[in-house]
């Protein structure tokens, strides 16, 4: 089976290299049959990689421990669900997942556009195949998941080695969010290759009209939502598995995926300015290039061992290839932008600072500054070592100091942006549209202060959330009421039809609404409380409105791990609400690693988050750590809402489909 997997990968590499050369030949000789052949080779490569991926899943499910990847990430008693997830349980398998998703994306992008942009497609194909070949090459020769275990005897003979059982999946990956987080995250990172390929192809073929922009806008939205969902799933996993009470820690690997998300968020806004006003053309191409390079940078950071991180894979020697590729791609694209700059002239100037364009530009500015600051903070240990020879790391205060004000600024822009008109907004109309949002958010602010809230950022954040919320409601009301008046629809139908008629705009508002919900959740961070107690059975302690009484301790085992659970009855204001059982597990495979499992009582107002941190040697007292984290619930609700809103913007518009045929 391992041979078959390797064969598929090698064949795919040959095919993708052939597709690359064929499309280049097709371009230089203007040979359309060559282009067709390149296209077919690309589909065949996608097919081979799919087979290789299925093979890896198969050897994992059938416990083929002769293969190193299987032996080190799986074991016989592992549930099938986790055996499949073991594909991305270690570096080499996750690399195959990366290659697989790249191949699928390339296949779809090529198939979808094969007849649409004839002149551009050979270039697109060449760039996609360059990317695919690079990752395939690294996958086959530097991180091959089909490598077999062998034993070297003292006399120099080498023999195959078949262990009786595998080492098991890393226990901290035993969680539903960890099963889906890596694939979703990869979908989000890898997708940027398609917009990049189109942008470069447009530059190379000098076809810089606005039609191709539409294709990459949809791709970017799709990629953007996958990456956003991936980030939030990772946060969810960290929250319920790592047990430190939070969901975001400014860890280098987290940062590295946030950066392309920020830049693509900027792009999704500034592309509207290009569509409507023909401005920011160079800037948009730069954002597309940056999103792509940052997504490669993200995998570089995780796989090169250059930055130590809890998430990073073991050091591997892939780093230099990624580095060379990134630098090459950066200079090639910069050269192209400069060389083709006459095609990228702005059609208009900024007319007024109080305009929709200007709001979008400020939004772009702060998003890119946030990305830059995060890059700086993440890479500072490396940079300071180069410059001064000492490695200096920076912590969360640096990231928070910069990003909290940026977050608030973005909230302001989210609120006022839609109120501004294109070109120029008269102060009079602005005053009219801003009246209710300002009034209601001022009342909220006074209410919060009167209620005893004194944390500056939290008050500011909640006030601004309220401001944005009112502007969004106002937008929906305005549109719906016109429909009610003109078409006689009932109000609810009017809201639905309004959204259906302009999915981009109103779907976008729903995404804005989801961001507001998340910011409400972030503001809750200011009021987190925690306590650690040593308890004996029968004792109780209080935190916030809760009191927790320990009623017992249970031990037991499953095929994979032994567990110990502390049973705690939770009372809220004297009334019993829940029994929580925080747990520690000792896994039987590998190095008998211990993991803690968080017990959570989540309500819209706050989360009660309890961990069983250890037991005294004589087994009489139990260390319990409890957190009360207000409003975290809304981060996850916001996440779901964000996916929904984005899905609405991506739904095909009936009219435009008719218009196209």
């Amino acid at each position: 089976m391992a041979n078959f997997g390797n064969f598929c990968l090698l064949l795919a590499l040959c095919l993708s290299l052939y597709a690359l050369i064929a499309s280049l030949t097709g371009i230089s000789q203007r040979h359309s049959r060559m282009n067709k052949s390149a296209e077919n080779a690309a589909y065949a490569a996608t097919g081979c990689i799919t087979l290789a991926f299925v093979t890896l899943v198969y050897v994992l499910v059938t416990d083929n421990f002769a293969i190193s990847h299987v032996a080190s990430t799986s074991n016989r008693d592992l549930p099938v669900f986790y055996k499949i997830a073991a594909v991305w349980g270690a570096h080499d398998g996750s690399m195959l997942l990366w290659v697989f998703i790249t191949a699928i994306f390339c296949g779809i992008a090529i198939f979808q556009n094969r007849n649409r942009y004839r002149g551009m497609m050979p270039y697109v194909l060449a760039i996609l195949m360059t990317d695919l070949s690079l990752f395939l090459f690294l996958n086959i020769f530097f991180s091959n998941p089909f490598n077999r275990l062998v034993e070297v005897f003292p006399d120099g003979t080498i023999q195959q080695f078949l262990p009786a059982d595998g080492q098991g999946l890393n226990p901290i990956l035993h969680h539903w969010a960890m099963v889906i987080h890596p694939p979703v995250q990869y979908l989000g990172l890898i997708g940027f290759v398609v917009p990049f390929a189109f942008a470069m192809a447009a530059l190379l073929s000098r076809q810089l009209g606005d039609t191709w922009i539409r294709t990459i806008r949809r791709w970017t939205i799709l990629t953007w939502i996958f990456l956003g969902a991936g980030l939030l799933l990772g946060g969810k996993w960290a929250y319920v598995v790592l047990g430190w009470g939070g969901y975001w820690g400014w860890d280098p690997v987290e940062n590295s995926s946030l950066m392309p998300w920020l830049v693509s968020t900027a792009f999704l806004h500034s592309i509207i300015v290009q569509e409507r006003k023909g401005m920011l053309k160079v800037w948009n191409i730069i954002l597309v290039v940056l999103s792509y390079l940052l997504s490669i940078f993200s995998t570089f950071l995780t796989r090169s061992g250059i930055i130590s991180s809890v998430h990073a894979f073991a050091d591997s020697n892939l780093g230099k290839f990624f580095l060379i590729y990134m630098i090459g791609a950066l200079f090639a694209s910069l050269y192209l932008v400069i060389d083709r700059r006459t095609y990228l002239k702005s059609e208009r100037r900024l007319d007024s600072i109080l305009s929709r364009e200007s709001a979008f530009m400020f939004n772009n500015l702060v998003l890119v500054v946030a990305c830059f600051a995060i890059f700086w903070g993440t890479m500072f240990p490396v940079l300071s070592e180069w410059v001064r020879g000492t490695k200096i790391t920076v912590g969360p205060p640096f990231f928070n100091n910069i990003n909290i004000p940026i977050g608030l600024l973005l909230l302001v822009l989210t609120g006022v942006g839609p109120l501004f008109a294109w070109r120029k907004t008269s102060v009079k109309s602005l005053r009219r549209s801003i009246f209710w949002p300002v009034l209601i958010s001022c009342i909220t602010c006074i209410g919060l202060l009167a209620g005893g809230m004194r944390h500056f950022y939290a008050v500011a954040c909640l006030t601004l959330c309220c401001f944005v919320l009112v502007t969004i409601i106002e937008e929906f009301l305005k549109g719906s009421l016109i429909r009610v008046r003109n078409k006689g629809e009932n109000f609810l139908a009017a809201v639905v039809n309004l959204t259906r008629k302009n999915k981009r705009r109103y779907g976008g508002y729903i995404v804005h609404f989801s961001i507001v919900l998340m910011f409400i959740g972030f503001a809750g961070n200011a009021f987190n409380r925690e306590t650690t107690r040593q308890l004996e059975t029968g004792q109780e302690f209080g935190i916030g409105d809760y009191s927790l009484k320990m009623t017992g301790y249970q031990e037991g085992q499953t095929p994979n791990y032994e567990y110990g659970k502390v049973v705690l009855d939770v009372f809220k204001n004297g009334r019993e609400v829940r029994t929580l059982m925080p747990e520690t597990r000792i896994f039987k495979t590998g190095s008998r690693q211990t993991t803690t499992t968080v017990a959570l009582y989540s309500t819209p107002k706050e989360d009660l988050y309890v961990i069983f941190a250890g037991m005294s040697n004589d087994g009489s007292t139990f260390e319990i750590k409890a957190y009360v984290n207000p409003l975290v619930y809304w981060v996850w609700v916001g996440a779901a809402m964000m996916v929904l809103g984005t899905a609405i913007t991506l739904l095909p518009n009936k009219q435009s489909a008719v218009g196209r045929t």
């Binding site: 091959n144 275990l149 226990p171 009470g245 809890v310 894979f313 900024l350 702060v366 640096f398 750590k625």
Partner: protein, 135 residues
Amino acid sequence: MVARMKFIFGGVVIIAALTWLGFVGFEESKAYYITVDEYSSMQDSLQGKTVKVAGDVVSGSIDRSKPQMEFIISSGNSSVKVRYIGNDIIPDTFTEGSKALVEGSIAPDGVFQARHIEAKCASKYEAEYSDRTSQ
């Protein structure tokens, strides 16, 4: 043109303010990243500074009997005694033989007081078999 100047001016103000905030945060949270060897040889110059030291947790050195856990990390010939004074729970991956990254400063009694511990056994997890691997 006036609008463009206003935009540039606004941008400069925002960036300047953020740079200042970033600088404050940087000073507050910077930590020198050093090896166990460097730590042993330059103890005096590290007084009062926040440092991060990485090393392997020495087998048998984890002492949980005291109110604050103590352990020893080493690399090569040098070792550092560490006392954990932080609030967060000790990461699951922290075990004897794992790689640990501790952040903190030197206490008056010469013991390293760690406020944060990061531990990584993932590399060990993969390394165990890799010695035997080949194509």
